[in-house]
Amino acid sequence: MRCAVIVFPGSNCDSDLYKAVNSFEGVDAEYVWYTTENLDAFDLILLPGGFAYGDYLRAGALAARTPVLKALIRAAERGVRVIGICNGFQVLTECGLLPGALQRNSGLHFICDTPLIEVVQDQSSFTSRYQQGELIRLPIAHGEGNYICDELTLRHLQAENRIVFRYASGSNPNGSVDKIAGILNSKGNVLGMMPHPERAMADWMGSSDGRRLFESALNLFPETADAA
């Protein structure tokens, strides 16, 4: 399995993601600089968190107009799996692969915390190792994670089962519509999420609930995926 970790100037969760993915047997992660124009060699493409271009103008906006994004969009069209985490999610909405936008947190402050997240659906290629309705702990750390979209889009997301993660149990740290924490594109091969699975890889980090996301995306346990 070859896995690309895209690096923009100002990305800072790139090495965390790289470590996380490389910790799996048989997975080969590589850093890919934003000027790269070809991503054909990769089975999974990861957009890391951080502050690409300092989050200047709008979070993700400047990164979404770089050469690597053109290649990423082509790969996504071919059905290659893509995960955008935090800043990566912002890039995915900015480039149009995912609908909606991420606005400033409703409380106006940056929030770093480890809330409970509900796995809304376990049928996606990214959640096959979880169970629907399961509550997991994943860290969040963002200033602009307040997901918004218009009524129609929201109804589509709901009807097509494309909301994958929600903030659980009455909490909504950033004010997102429908408590959305992560969504899919309509084909189901592109996931954007604000929580950081790469920060939940071992108990000493406070949670190891993020592991199963990568296991699902990397098809590390195909039997379970089939069974699900």
Binding site: K19, G49, G54, I111, C112, H196
Partner: protein, 763 residues
């Protein structure tokens, strides 16, 4: 460009005064040079001889610190201290203040403070792995006058500083993992903002800022130079009028995005081997970095100022040399390998260009528009600054206040109600509102983040971890600087110990008022004495630090505020310990003796609105014994949680050990008056919890070390019940207390401080 005053005019019009030199200092400069300096030269002397760069008042005090130890690889003198961690690893750390810039523009002041200390760490070659910070502000509320402009200003400063620290640290991708915040009327108008950075390095990668190799190119890396922060120190000491308002230096603005690129470029430059030395352009910008590098290398430096990248038009040599624009580094590369340097900088999209070279004459030579703009012999610039030994005399107020009895109030009727009022005071309230704004997890090495005594950061590729804490209770120092100094060291070390770390060394930030006043210099001297004593007893060398003097508003000094940052080594992940209860039914033990010590305590401040008497005593022998015993118990795996007792005493420590649904049931015997027993701030006390099976072994260990060890209660879900001598003083549902305590700061800040304060500029 307006014409510059001539050397003659500088002398006759005494313009050197506004450039930071006194009459006698200016005379000395003329003697050293054998001529009158021109404007640029006068400016360079002014800034290099400022307190900030020369330590002319504090140097003799600082020289008293013990700086040697078997683990010290680099003591004070370089950008930051370096301490061995074994197996070829070392830790690099230092603290830096940014008080005055933060008072003017809290967001940018704090952000650039963080950026500055970061550059100090990586210029040693180290990868920065953690930030800490220590903050002081005026009160956030006033019952009598809730809408007072002072209170609003304090809230604005607090909100802005926290946002600035978050803004820079989060963006650059280094976790902010620990710190402390204090509030007191003495900091209204003069907040304190001290930032600490910790980095990790392999021994062989250690860099030194020495300009070596005659003919080697001097390369400028990073953001262009503007008129930011020019001679800030001098302008700040001028009386403000309309004319000076126009002259006021423009605020330095941080750019963490550029900062991150410069950081990565520099670390890669070190690995390339094409670079000999690097120094950051911090205080006094190009002046300080170029002269220090040249002097340490035993050489000189020639710079062509026309080659310095400039953001503003028509900058004079004086302005170029004194600008404090951010995100800039100066480096000396190996001749012939410039292209390699530029290649790496291009990759990271960081501007870089050669601006000069290393020369054999030991001078700083500056050229501008084809002419010589300045030439100063380095030995007559750096080593020649006069040192001042000021008078040190305690004030009358100081001495009479110490003699007062610390307890002047009667036992309160309802201690439970009192407790609930106290835990919502900003001073004692949870600092969650602050640290929730900091990314404390990026880099995924944080094992214990904010919310416990010390933070713990794992070192990748090893079994080791670092425990770190920054502390300082200035009320103790105000009442008795020597004891206060000792306690600051002891407390920071105790926090590290409680987290499972062996304290290794410390950095200190000395924040004081105007040292020309005898009572202030006395505070400084006494506090240093106390710090030295504690360092000796606890075997903690000082490897670096920072001095910030003249922290005054309208002639009133802040409390003397020495801050101590301690770093410790956690030898094995199993030793990582937090202050929180782990399991219902665990037994709670109190180590140490509780005396009636309420001087400068949180209870005294709350009951009387002021502080008086003597601060708690500290017996360094006992302290050392206690810390060793706790560390031993942790290493023997006998302890579930460990928490040091500090502000607010036992009852505060009990509350802050509760987490989730784990509360306490305490039934304690004490001969001291109820309120004083619960809130006494006696030193050298630690609260432990342990599973019942380990209880006897733990008690035996403490007995063998002659450490008083009392069973005070058990961990109980959902409750906070405290009984003293068989009588319940506090009986509360835990969730209710927790909510009060955790949301207190948030409630104050969110109700009052909506809008723009402290947000990302111009976003």
């Amino acid at each position: 460009m307006p014409p510059e005053p001539t050397p003659e005019e500088i002398s006759t019009q005494q313009s050197y005064l506004s450039l930071g030199l006194s009459d006698s200092e200016y005379q000395l400069v003329c003697e050293l040079l054998g001529r009158k300096p021109n404007l640029t030269e006068t400016g360079i002397y002014g800034v290099m001889w400022s307190e900030h760069c020369s330590y002319k008042t504090s140097k003799m005090q600082l020289s008293r610190f013990p700086t040697e130890g078997p683990n010290v690889l680099q003591g004070p003198g370089e950008g930051a201290g370096v301490v061995d961690l074994g197996d070829g690893w070392a830790v690099v750390f230092k603290v830096e203040s940014h008080n005055h810039p933060s008072a003017i523009e809290p967001y940018q002041g704090a952000a650039t403070g963080v950026g500055g200390i970061l550059r100090d760490i990586y210029s040693m070659g180290a990868r920065p792995v953690a930030f800490l910070n220590s903050l002081r502000f005026g009160p956030l509320s006033d019952k009598k006058d809730p809408g007072s402009p002072n209170i609003k200003r304090n809230q604005y400063l607090f909100g802005g500083v926290v946002a600035g620290i978050a803004g820079y640290g989060n963006c650059i991708g280094v976790p902010t993992v620990a710190g402390e915040v204090g509030f007191d009327a003495c900091y209204s108008g003069n907040p304190l903002v001290n930032a600490m950075c910790v980095g990790v390095i392999r021994h062989e990668d250690l860099q030194h800022g020495r300009a070596e190799g005659i003919g080697n190119p001097v390369i400028y890396v990073g953001a262009a130079t503007g008129r930011d922060g020019i001679h800030g120190a001098t302008f700040a000491s001028e009386e403000l009028n309309e004319e000076s308002e126009a002259k006021r230096p423009s605020v330095q603005v941080g750019d963490p995005f550029m900062g991150k690129l410069v950081l990565e470029a520099c670390l890669e430059l070190f690995r390339s081997g094409a670079v000999i030395s690097v120094q950051d352009m911090g205080a006094a910008g190009l002046t300080c970095s170029s002269t220090e590098m040249a002097e340490k290398g035993g050489n000189g430096m020639e710079l062509d100022l026309d080659l310095v990248p400039q953001r503003a038009l028509e900058m004079s040599p004086y302005e170029i040399m004194l600008s404090e624009s951010q995100e800039r580094m100066l480096l000396v590369a190996k001749a012939g390998r410039e292209e390699e340097v530029f290649e790496i900088c291009r990759k990271w999209e960081v501007p870089a260009c050669t601006i000069g070279r290393v020369i054999p004459e030991t001078v700083l030579r500056l050229k501008h528009r084809g002419a010589l703009a300045a030439e100063l012999p380095l030995d007559r610039l750096l080593g020649s600054c006069p040192l001042y030994q000021r008078d040190a005399v305690p004030s009358e107020k100081q001495l009479s206040r110490q003699k007062k009895n610390a307890v002047t109030w009667d036992v309160p009727d309802d201690i439970g109600a009192l407790f609930k009022e106290m835990i919502v005071q900003p001073e004692l309230a949870s600092k969650r509102w602050v640290y929730r704004q900091y990314d404390s997890m990026v880099r995924t090495c944080t094992s214990v983040g904010p919310g416990s005594d010390a933070a713990v950061i794992r070192i990748e590729g090893t079994n080791k971890a670092l425990a770190m804490s920054i502390d300082g209770n200035s009320r103790y120092v105000e009442l008795d600087p020597q004891t206060g100094g000792r306690i600051a060291v002891a407390e920071a070390a105790r926090n590290v110990t409680c987290s499972g770390g062996q304290p290794l060394a410390l950095t200190n930030g000395l924040n004081f008022g105007n040292p020309e006043k005898p009572e202030i210099f006395w505070q400084l001297r006494e506090a240093v004495t106390g710090i030295c004593e504690a360092c000796q007893s606890l075997e903690l060398p000082v490897t670096g630090g920072n001095v910030s003097l003249y922290n005054e508003t309208e002639g009133e000094a802040v409390y003397p505020t020495p801050l101590i940052g301690v770093v410790g080594l956690v030898e094995h992940p199993e030793h990582e310990t937090t202050q929180h209860w782990k399991q219902a039914g665990d037994v709670i033990l109190l180590l140490g003796e509780t005396e009636e010590e309420l001087g400068a305590s949180a209870l005294q401040q709350f009951m009387t609105g002021s502080i008086f008497g003597m601060p708690p005593a500290l017996d360094l022998e006992k302290e050392k014994n206690l810390q060793e015993a706790v560390l031993e118990a942790i290493r023997q795996n006998l302890i579930a949680s460990a928490h040091d007792l500090s502000q607010g005493g036992l009852v505060m420590a009990l509350l802050t050990s509760c987490k989730g649904e784990l509360g306490v049931h305490v039934d304690w015997e004490s001969g001291i008056r109820d309120d004083l027993a619960l809130f006494s701030e006696s030193q050298s006390r630690i609260l432990l919890s342990t599973v019942p099976q380990n209880l006897l072994m733990l008690e035996k260990l403490m007995q063998s070390r002659k450490i008083p060890c009392e069973r005070v209660g058990v961990v109980m879900p959902g409750r906070f019940d405290i009984a003293l001598n068989g009588k319940f003083l506090i009986q509360e549902e835990l969730p209710e207390l927790q909510q009060l305590w955790e949301n207190a700061l948030e409630n104050i800040m969110n109700s009052e401080n909506q809008g723009f304060s402290g947000e990302k500029q111009a976003a």
